[in-house]
Every structure is written in C-alpha cells, then in structure tokens.
Amino acid sequence: MIECQGLGKDFRHYRKEPGVLGSLKSFFVRKYDRKAAVADFNLTIERGEMVGLLGPNGAGKTTLMKMFTGIIVPSHGSLKVFGHVPFQREQAFRKKIALVMGQKSQLWWDIPAMDSFELLQKYYEIPYRDFKKRLDMLSALLDVERLLKVHVRKLSLGERMKMELMACLLHQPQVLFLDEPTIGLDLVAQRNIRDFIAAYQREQGTTVILTSHYMADVDALCARIVLVLGGQKRYDGSIRGFSGILGREKIVTVVFGESVLADPPGFERFDPQWNETRTRVDLRVPEPELRSVAIDILQSLPLLEFSMEKLPIERVMSTLLANPQLLR
C-alpha cells in the first residue's frame, strides 16, 4: 500500500538574464526561484491497484515517482510505500519495488542483457531455480529468447524496453513503477508492451503506478487515474468518471466527399475539430441530444461516412488542460 500525506517537493534554481551581460551579472548577484514541483499531495493506493498518473510535462508526475521510489527526498509531508519510508532505502524496501524509466536505460549497454539479469539475480538474492523459471517465462512471453545474448546497445528501442521490463520483474516486485514505458515505441511495440503489462498484472496482482503521455496506455491499463496539474492532485477516481467530467458526451465523426469550407449550421455548438483537408469533422455531442443531432446530419448533409464513439480520453485531457476551471 502506498500512502502519502501533504507530500511536497521544492526545487531551487537561479534566474539568469540572457546574453553575456546577464551571465556577468548572475556571476555576482544571483536571484533564486523556489518552485514547488509537487505540493500538498495526498494519495492512497491499495495493494494490487493499477493507477495511472496523468498530467502535462512538468506537472510533477515524475517527481512523485522519484519520491515513491526513494530516489529523491521529499521537502515536506509523509510517505510510506509498503510500510517503508522510501528515502531510507532499506534493502527490504528496494526488493519490494521496481522502476522502469522509459527515457533511461537501467541495463548495461556494453554487455548482453543476460549478463545484467545474472547480476540482478545476485542483487535481489533470487534462488537460481526461481530465477531460471521466471527468466524462461518472461522471455517467452515477451518473445525475446533469441536476444538474451545480444549486446544491449545492438537492440532496437522496443526490444530494449522488453529487456528493461524483464530486468524489473525478475525479482517479482510487489509494486512496479512505470515511467513512460512506451515512449518512442511504434504502435505495434506499444501494444505489445501494454498487453504484456496487463496480463502480468492480472496474473501476479502487482501494484502498478504508471505515467504515460499515451492515453491509450492509461485507457487500456488503468481503472483509476490521478490527474496532476501544477504539482497538485486535481482528479482522483475512475477512468469512467474522468470522461464524465465534461458531461456525458459522445464523439460523432462525419466524413464528407469533398472539402467543406464553412461549418454547417449548428456545428459550432459541438466543438468541431476538422482535419487538414476539411473533409472530416469530430463533434462532441451530449448524449441526450445524440439522436436528434444524428438524424439532422444524416438527413441534411451529403456525407460519405458517419460514426459515433465514446469520448476518447485524449480529448478529455486536452479539453481539461485548456480549461482547468472545469475541474473545480
């Protein structure tokens, strides 16, 4: 279980005017700014939950992850992860957690992944038989058996990420922190990684905390999401409830045979989002009006295709980021 109360982290950095003069000035007189990367954060995550931390760049998601894993020291508040204070970095704590950093490799580049795995077997004191069993299971699931003896620097990004995941799961952590695990991967690799995480979590009941810029990751994996904006928690609840912040709405997509230069009458009410060639438009239509709007469009416009789907989480996110007052 993860529990934090009033958790905060401040960073101090100095301000420098541009140019040589600014550099000279800042050499003698330096003005410091203190920025709260995370402020007064309260959160409780139960064992076995899969929670997505959402937010734009600089929102404080990664700072939270760094505090949860004991990499950095909180400036304020209390934090316990599975009964441990992370920053004390007890061996018992380190054996319970694992961290995957999409933007930083934890494997040694100049040697094959297998060598790293054998080192981790010693570090985590995994009995060799268990290690072998898990290694075989994970490498089969991730389809990387033939890559275990290849130098890590020779692997593709997707293959490397699979190895990173394996490295983190060999000791069967109780809680898995995934910081942008699919960043930079192509769509197929993203889906493979996602499917693997979902299946693994279902089977092992591991607590998973995920940050990702790909809403598809969060949508596919997390039942609960926590929205972080400006270092503060702005939403904590189910993914269904999150979509419902904007009201019960659906996306209506209309495709036309030729470019439509002006919005057809009434479209402006539904936040129309046109493609570049203005042949396709997405409308956000409240569920009670769905029937009448659909009939109206089908009867009055020369369209090629018409479809309806639930509001994608990306759309909810971007609308909330543009209008944070909707969260109050």
């Binding site: 960073f11 990664t62 992850m65 760094k66 894993t69 004991g70 990499i71 950095i72 020291v73 970095r89 061996q91 380190r94 054996k95 957690i97 694992a98 961290l99 950093m101 933007q103 930083k104 934890q106 040694w108 100049d110 040697i111 060598d115 790293s116 054998e118 080192l119 981790l120 077997q121 010693k122 570090y123 985590y124 004191e125 130098h151 910081d179």
Partner: protein, 266 residues
C-alpha cells in the same frame, strides 16, 4: 554470503565491460609502456644530455630512469582508476538505477574498482616484463617487489576514495574536472611522480611526510627500488589515517549530496 556474491557478480560484470572492446583492452595493456618510452624516457635522456648535467641530487641518468620506471608501475597499480564518470553520472541523473537496486552505489563503484585493479595487475605484470627486458629495472628483488606491491595497493584504495570524493562534488558543482585536475597536478608534483622528492628543500620534505602526498608515488617507488629508509608500518599507518579521513568525508558528502540529488532527465 549473499553480500559477497553481489560483490563477485559486480566484479565479473565489470570485467565483461572492460573486455567487450578488444582493441581498447590491448591499448590498455601496452599503452602505459608506450607512453613511458615516448615521454619520460625521451625527456630525461634529453635533460641528461645537456652540457654539464651528469647527476641531479645524486641521480644519474640510469638511476633516474630506474626511478621513473618504478613510478610508472606505482601509477599503474595505484592511480589507474578514476571516477571521472561518477561526476557525470550524478549530473545527468544516471545514478538513479543504483539507488533502486538492493546493492549500494559505493559498493557497486568499489567492486568495479577492484575489478579494474585485477586487470591492472595484468597490465603491470606486462609492463614490468617489458621494462625488465628493456634493461630499465636493474637491481630489483622479490622482497622489495612484494613490499612495494602491497603498499601500492593501499595507495590505490586511497586514490580511489579521493577520486570518489571529488566526483561527489558534482552534487553541488556543474563541473568537477577543475577540482580533479588541481588535485592530480598538485599530487603529481608533491608525490614525486615528476621527480624524486630529494630535489625538494629539506624543510618541505619534512612537512610533506605528514601529508598523504609522498606516499602516493615516492615512497612505494623507493620501496620497489629497495631504497626506502623509513618504516613500512609507519608509512602504512600515516596513509591509513588519511584514508580513514577521506572515507569519513565520502560518507558524509554522499549523505549530504543525496539530499540535493534531483535525478535530472528521468
């Protein structure tokens, strides 16, 4: 036992990293001898070929080259490892992974250092052989070799700890290479790596004997030559005390520094 196997596994992986690039390794083995012949041998030959120069504080060319050859071996055994990467790792946030693994960062670095020392033994043996064949190491004996070797290993650990301490300054400083260059330059000068300490005034020599510097090169070189007039135990005690001071410093700075660590770039 599990702790020991973590250390051994780290040593093994460190060897794998060093042996990953064949050419690099070959250069590592023969590089020091080549550099010695190109730089020190030529330099001292040129100095002693100057008109009127036959001895320098009792050192003729042969003895000076003998001294310089032993300083090369001390350097290989004691000062080969540097923690230059440590500062960069801290600055770029690359130590994060080691803060999560259940094996400390200092043990990881130290095990890597020990692995490196293992390889340096091989490099030193090859260099020793080449220098003996080249006729530069005259009059050596097994007891002197053993004494110099043991002391050099102690110096190696001191050098490692001081490099680690300087690397940790990266928690506060953007660049630590200035500190490192300053330390290495001062150490080169005061340790006798450039020239034997007999060329210094007596008063400076007597002050220096309480500092760690003479023990970094001059003392082990003289031990190898069988010419060290002081006591091995006293020399080891003085350097051991300095090692304890530096180790306490490492511990204190690491704890303080980690509170400032931001894990940039993660």
């Amino acid at each position: 036992m599990p702790e020991l196997s973590k250390w051994m596994a780290t040593v093994r992986i460190s060897w794998s990293k060093h042996l990953a690039y064949k050419l690099n390794f070959v250069l590592l083995v023969i590089g020091p001898t080549l550099v010695f012949f190109f730089v020190k041998f030529s330099l001292w030959k040129a100095i002693f070929s100057l008109e009127g120069v036959t001895t320098l504080q009792g050192y003729d060319l042969r003895r000076m080259l003998n001294y310089q050859a032993w300083t090369l071996l001390v350097g290989l055994l004691a000062q080969g490892y540097n923690s230059m990467n440590l500062a960069e790792d801290i600055r770029l946030g690359r130590i994060s992974a080691y803060l999560v693994y259940p094996f400390g960062f200092w043990p990881f670095q130290t095990a890597s250092f020990l692995a490196f020392q293992g390889l340096q033994l091989l490099v030193s043996a090859v260099t020793l052989l080449l220098l003996v064949v080249g006729g530069l190491l005259s009059g050596w004996s097994w007891p002197a070799l053993l004494e110099g070797f043991v002391f050099s290993l102690l110096v190696g650990f001191f050098w490692y700890q001081i490099s680690f301490l300087i690397g940790l300054a990266a928690f506060w400083l953007e660049e630590t290479w200035v500190l490192r260059v300053m330390f290495v330059t001062i150490a080169q000068f005061l340790s006798g790596a450039m020239m034997p300490l007999e060329v210094f005034p007596v008063w400076l020599e007597s002050i220096l004997q309480w500092s760690p510097f003479p023990y970094l090169t001059y003392v082990p070189a003289k031990m190898f030559m069988g010419e060290y007039s002081g006591s091995f135990a006293v020399a080891a005690l003085i350097l051991g005390l300095w090692l304890a001071v530096v180790s306490l410093g490492v511990n204190w700075v690491w704890r303080r520094g980690l509170r400032l660590y931001t894990a940039a770039g993660m």
